[in-house]
């Protein structure tokens, strides 16, 4: 029998994968992909809680998260294209212009 804990563990595993990708990769495009993984992991958690507590708010919240993810991609990819036109690189280290 699949319980809520199964889904939450799966959500945690996916979130950890996204976290590893977010901290390990230096390609800015890969950072965007990792962000998508994080948002999707959270969505699974919301949908699971929504089902096992019989409350619809979780699904509504996941719906809004999808909207946020879509607009994040639009703005982020536009900025990334601009950055690539300016510097010719999508390496994360090329962003360190303040030498902090």
């Amino acid at each position: 029998m699949i319980t809520l804990t199964h889904y939450l563990i799966l959500s945690g595993i996916l979130f950890s994968i996204g976290l590893v990708g977010l901290m390990r990769r230096k390609n800015l495009l890969m950072l965007f992909f990792s962000t998508e993984i994080l948002l999707n992991a959270v969505n699974i958690g919301f949908a699971a809680v929504s089902k096992f507590y019989g409350d619809l708010s979780g699904q509504i919240f996941a719906f809004f998260i999808i909207a946020v993810a879509a607009s994040e991609v639009a703005v982020g990819l536009g900025l990334l294209v601009l950055w690539y036109k300016k510097t010719g690189s999508i390496n994360l280290d090329s962003l360190a212009m303040m030498k902090g």
Partner: protein
């Protein structure tokens, strides 16, 4: 029984796909694996009786977001590898500790929140999931819904403004001649 099989199949497939996304060298492979993982995640939503969310996941993620990434990747030179030098082990240890704490917190969460009460019950007699979401979304969550619409409009306008300039020119450099030669 079928739920068990479906859950484990989708879990293994999703985790495998996302591992490919994170560890692959090639950006194109990563993007394809991400699209596959999104489809498998919508399988979870159908398992959880959230049909509307599953359909939206397929349409928005593997339809819109992946197409946007595919178009965005045409601007980048994806054949050239980005040199990724990881030179401190500290990040690795921090990551492991963070993930372990995360798993423990997630395992404890159902115990702490066991006395939660449903405000908007998911099931009514003769009302499907999509209809129920419509009822809740357009009554209690109407203002967040409208705000999300405004946010999407802002994102669309910013995406158009950022990308649709002449591709070989700087954004601010030749503002002058644009102003003179503007016909649109």
């Amino acid at each position: 029984m079928f739920e068990l099989i479906a859950f484990y199949t989708f879990s293994i497939l999703t985790i495998g796909m996302f591992c490919i996304v994170v560890f692959s060298k090639n950006a194109l492979y990563a993007m394809s694996a991400l699209a596959g993982g999104m489809i498998f995640i919508s399988g979870f939503f159908f398992l959880l009786e959230a049909e509307f969310l599953g359909v939206v996941q397929i349409i928005v993620y593997s339809g819109a977001v992946m197409a946007l990434y595919a178009f965005g990747m045409m601007f980048f030179d994806t054949t050239r590898d980005v040199k990724e030098n990881i030179n401190n082990k500290k990040i690795l240890y921090t990551l492991s500790i963070l993930s372990a704490i995360l798993i423990v917190v997630i395992l404890c969460a159902p115990i702490f929140s066991a006395n939660i009460e449903a405000i908007y019950p998911a099931k009514l007699e003769g009302v499907g999931n999509v209809q129920m979401i419509g009822l809740v979304l357009f009554t209690k969550y109407l203002i967040p819904f409208e705000l999300a619409a405004v946010m999407l409009l802002v994102a669309m306008i910013s995406g158009i403004v950022l990308v649709s300039k002449r591709m070989d020119a700087n954004l601010t450099e030749d503002e002058q001649e644009h102003i003179e030669g503007e016909t649109i």
